[in-house]
């Protein structure tokens, strides 16, 4: 049963009472909200995600609603609560859909410590798991969206989830966050992709969400091994260039982009070293998306051999 299959009145009731259980990759997320904008956004962005039986259990319990208090009569705001804590101050009510995305991301970073979590876009093609660990603003979501427009499977544009027992990557196909100029670029690149109406986020950027492809969502349970690491560096007007990374530098770069590698002690270090052993790594500087994708495909081709 997917979210789109739920009769509208059932979805509304489950959202209102907080009994909706959405499966997002390896996580069950319980969602509660009385806001139409959140309901609407969920229906568009998570249409193909499976829902679990309305029950008691969830990895993350997310509640997005206007805060109580007198302020609500002056200015409507919205706040989220994740597993009982409210880590952020209330935001303008119009940001509610973005806030829901932020809430899931925050929960993964704050609670998913049974996995090793890296800040990286992850995609897969023909058994090659590609990790793109990079800081915000480096163009990793854009390259990620471009790749899934050309046959790659989306695991996540934000997180690499690694099973510490096996070293496998777990898909967590969430909407892809596209900012400012990337929005028009991806609209032109993947005319069939569904993008949400852009909103202004806290950083003052235009922020749109791309619905993850149906096939990627359907394959949420299929794990893969990391076989290639590409560190994207978007630089307007620059010539495309690839520079290889040593294994030691690769480990350091992965550690720099880890959420909870330190929590896993020795096993955390070993895992990153195993990735560096199994996956050649390169920094990819590019300005032309077509060229960037071509280079990634070439690197993947040689990683497959």
């Amino acid at each position: 049963l997917t979210l789109a299959d739920l009769p509208p009145e059932v979805l509304s009731r489950q959202l209102r009472t907080g009994t909706l259980r959405l499966r997002v990759g390896p996580f069950i997320v319980s969602v509660r909200s009385s806001l139409q904008s959140v309901r609407h956004s969920l229906l568009s962005l998570y249409a193909w995600h499976r829902v679990a039986e309305p029950g008691d259990g969830a990895h993350f319990a997310i509640h997005v609603d206007p805060p109580r208090g007198l302020r609500r009569f002056v200015r409507r705001q919205v706040q989220f609560e994740g597993n009982g804590s409210r880590p952020f101050l209330p935001l303008p009510i119009g940001m509610a859909p973005l806030l829901f995305e932020g809430a899931i991301n925050w929960c993964v970073g704050a609670f998913a410590h049974h996995l090793v979590v890296l800040h990286a876009a992850t995609v897969e093609k023909d058994g090659v798991g590609l990790l793109m660990p990079a800081a915000p603003g480096s163009g990793k979501s854009t390259l990620c969206a471009a790749l899934i427009g050309r046959g790659w499977r989306l695991l996540s544009d934000e997180f690499a989830l690694i099973d510490p027992a096996t070293g496998e990557l777990l898909p967590v196909p969430k909407p892809i966050a596209l900012k400012d100029g990337s929005i028009a670029v991806i609209r032109a690149w993947s005319p069939d992709a569904w993008l949400s109406v852009p909103l202004i986020n806290l950083e003052g950027q235009l922020h749109a969400c791309q619905r993850p492809p149906e096939a990627s969502v359907a394959a949420s349970g299929e794990r893969c091994m990391p076989r290639l690491v590409v560190i994207p560096k978007f630089l307007a007007g620059a010539e495309a260039a690839v520079s290889r990374l040593t294994r030691a530098r690769t480990v350091m770069h992965l550690a720099d982009n880890a959420f909870n590698y330190n929590l896993h002690g020795q096993r955390g270090f070993e895992l990153l070293a195993e990735i560096a052993d199994a996956a050649p790594a390169a920094i990819l500087q590019y300005s032309n998306l077509e060229e960037g994708v071509r280079i990634v495909n070439r690197l993947a081709e040689s990683a497959r051999r």
Partner: protein
């Protein structure tokens, strides 16, 4: 609220016996996980479960949350172990072997209440005469005082039992240096010298003797009361109470010597009432019975503690408030308390300059 109560009962049962995790329903898992997480006991239970190699028939989400808590708990223990070593190294310069208190001591002593423990700040106890040396050595090794108003600095140095909190410049970790275990201005004055003399070393880390650990935890909860109302504190008491007749004889002697009989009485009473210390021999209750308060006081305390621990839904907030007021009252003589509160109010008012 019914679910809160169910969660509290389950958490207590699971702490006493991890096998209670077997066969929980989904909603029981949810109640248990919510309360155990909120009371900061989940990592302890999760690590305990791993140690006992108990196999669970839990749903995936519950198993994952338990595993996440175990991973976090193991890291907390490593961090505390490391920090203890740093503090010892800094104080070796001035030839002082500090006694670690509370959470850090439980972790170092490897007792159940230290397992996977979240320790917000490390507490050490040193002789008052050594304070200047200790302060100097710590500053030389990167700890610095948090910026304080002159009034707050005076509050700590003249009235309290500890220096103002220190934070390590690079690691950001917090350290409280105590020279006694209760405020100078309070009504009970357990002699620091006796605590230090009888301290013991476990794997190279100095901690209070087992009876003193129990008495300190009791005093902290029922006299100083900064963190009143948490289930974890009573779970600590239960864990620290484990011992035979010889242990309890020593506890009684030390309670007498330190003047901490009343808080000990409360600690034992409420740990038992919450079902956390059922294995305590009935003779123990007889032993501490001589420090019972007058009946009216006891009846009031029973009501407040019961409510604060989630027994009575409506009263929980007010009861915690009243208990906090009680501990403030015990910290300082009335005139000083009035002056202190006045200065706090003035500062928080929008008209303060």
């Amino acid at each position: 609220m019914r679910r809160l109560r169910a969660g509290v009962e389950l958490t207590i049962a699971v702490m006493r016996d991890p096998r209670r995790l077997i066969g929980l329903s989904d909603s029981e898992w949810e109640d248990f996980l919510a309360v155990a997480q909120e009371t900061r006991l989940l990592s302890r239970v999760a690590l305990e479960r791993k140690r006992s190699r108990l196999t669970l028939d839990a749903p995936d989400w519950a198993r994952d949350r338990l595993e996440a808590a175990a991973v976090k708990g193991a890291q907390y223990e490593r961090e505390i172990g490391w920090e203890i070593g740093r503090i010892q190294r800094a104080l070796r310069d001035v030839d002082i072997d500090p006694v670690f208190l509370k959470g850090a001591a439980y972790v170092a002593a490897r007792i159940p209440c230290g397992r996977g423990r979240v320790v917000a700040d490390i507490d050490i106890l040193v002789e008052e005469a050594a304070l200047a040396d200790v302060e100097r050595a710590l500053v030389a090794h990167g700890w610095e005082f948090e910026p304080l108003e002159p009034y707050d600095d005076r509050y700590y140095r003249e009235w309290m039992h500890e220096l103002p909190p220190m934070r390590h410049r690079q690691r950001g970790t917090l350290l409280d240096v105590h020279h006694r275990i209760l405020p100078r201005t309070g009504r009970m004055h357990p002699p620091t010298a006796r605590l230090l003399e009888r301290s013991v070393a476990i794997d190279g880390v100095r901690v209070l003797s087992p009876p003193h650990r129990l008495l300190h935890a009791s005093a902290h909860l029922f006299q100083d009361g900064e963190v009143f109302g948490s289930l974890r504190d009573l779970a600590d008491i239960a864990s620290l109470s484990a011992g035979g007749e010889a242990f309890w004889r020593e506890v009684a002697e030390e309670a007498q010597a330190l003047g901490l009989g009343r808080p000990l009485f409360y600690a034992v009473r409420y740990a038992r009432r919450m079902g956390l210390a059922d294995e305590l021999a009935p003779s123990t209750l007889g032993l501490v019975g001589r420090w019972a308060p007058p009946p009216a006081t006891q009846a009031l305390m029973d009501t407040l503690v019961h409510a604060a621990l989630g027994g009575g839904a409506l009263l929980q907030g007010p009861a915690s408030g009243l208990l906090l007021m009680r501990s403030q009252w015990l910290r300082m003589p009335p005139s000083l308390l009035a002056a202190h509160l006045w200065s706090k109010i003035r500062r928080s008012s929008p008209f303060a300059s």
